[in-house]
């Protein structure tokens, strides 16, 4: 991810950077770039430098795992707000369908200087689209960020669609697009990297009644980036 605005910010004298703490108002447009993957309800969070909704290379929190395995953002909301985050919950009013977008307008971040975003990817076991602690530029303007797909590392990617949304329950909750198969034997029963990492992608297969996976390899794969975010600092 190459963000000129971040480079510009880092060149500012520290004395300026420390005086930013004034309220900012943002418009945040989130575009699902994929052809076949749904985003569960989005969490858009503004917070301070000490907080993360997720961090690559670290074990997922229970709240993050609940989001990544079942789309439940309530744990992340309460945990972040306890630390001063200002959140927008579910700006798309439900699922964000493939290739569609949603815009959060006039998001007042208070004195929070960082922006994070999460949503589960369906159908996956514990895949999610994420933005971790993007420093909100001080200068008014429009900034574009591309987001990758992550694996929470909290559940094996068996790719069996069985309604398994609850934390710790193996399986994929659903394919909202109903392009899935059934009767899969399962791709794997183990998770080799139990920290948050870049998702390796769905394997899938083309057998709608059996095979190793209930997801369709022609429909439910993706290449990074999976989302484009356009932030307008007002």
């Amino acid at each position: 991810m190459k963000i000129n605005s971040i480079l510009a910010m880092s060149a500012l004298p520290l004395v300026m950077a420390s005086s930013i703490a004034s309220a900012q108002t943002l418009d945040v447009k989130i575009i699902n770039l994929t052809q076949g993957m749904y985003f569960t309800p989005l969490l858009v969070s503004s917070h301070d430098a000490s907080q993360h909704l997720f961090e690559s290379g670290t074990v997922a929190s229970v709240a993050l795992a609940a989001m990544a395995e079942g789309g439940d953002i309530s744990g992340l909301v309460s945990a972040s707000e306890a630390l001063g985050a200002v959140n927008s919950e579910n700006p798309a009013n439900g699922l964000l369908a493939p290739s569609s977008s949603t815009t959060l307008t006039d998001f007042n971040t208070g004195t929070n200087e960082y922006l994070s975003i999460t949503a589960m990817l369906l159908p996956t076991n514990d895949g999610f689209v994420g933005l971790d602690s993007w420093e909100i530029p001080e200068a008014a303007g429009t900034y574009t960020i591309h987001l990758n797909a992550y694996d929470a590392g909290s559940e094996a990617n068996d790719e069996i669609i069985n309604g398994g949304a609850a934390l710790g329950t193996l399986g994929i909750p659903a394919d909202p697009g109903a392009n899935n198969g059934t009767g899969a034997s399962g791709v794997t029963s183990t998770e080799t990297n139990e920290t948050v990492h870049i998702h390796r992608g769905n394997v899938g297969d083309t057998d709608s009644n059996a095979g190793v996976s209930d997801v369709d390899s022609r429909v439910h794969r993706w290449l990074n980036p999976v989302a484009k975010v356009v932030v307008t600092v007002k």
Binding site: L33, T34, Q35, S101, T206, S217, R218, V219
Partner: protein, 237 residues
Amino acid sequence: MNMKKYFGIGFSVFSLAFMSACSDSDNDNDGVKVGTLNGYELTVTNLTSNQPLSPLAVAIHNSNYTAWTIGVEPSLGLEKLAEEGSTTEFLNEAISAGVYASVSGEGAIFSGESETLEIESVKNDEMKLTIASMLINTNDAFTGAQSIDLSSLEIGDELSVLLPVYDAGTEANNELAGTIPGPADGGEGFNIARDDVNVVSRHPGVVTNIDGYDDSILDSSHRFDSPIAKLVLKRIQ
């Protein structure tokens, strides 16, 4: 693959302003306009393993022209570009939309190879460049970039852009024999039927017959990831 289409437009670098200003092609000696022309050289290098790129379609324009939008139904021109690799309809639509200049590539660009084109346009406050090309060993994948800002380029300046991969959404990615126009298959190019999501998105990649999809006509060499190609743009005039 219909090679005739690839060469139909040939190497025509033209400016719409000149089209109306003078009827002959000897523009350089028409002293009236020379000082108002910007010239660009662009080089595209195919970075894929085995996905030849169809002839480039290039336009210079202002913000009134958008060739495609994620989540929006593609035009017929984009469908033809992404399914059969033809630039004609795509560029005709661009010209109808009032682009300043357009050019079509000479031929397919094979993996590891490059093509260099030149394009001239009258100077305008807004100078944006859009480029597109099909991955011809796919159902309807294309690479490209839209509205690259040229306005700050001085003569001699250059910029480099890595091009991602899009899916036109007009033809299902079934990878079946007879559906892919490139050398992997030699199958059908354009088909008016739209049997896919019918909106533009990023491409999910191809499965291929090495990865459990026995019916796929594609093999491991046809797999790809983003970026597909490298574009180097240089202002030369």
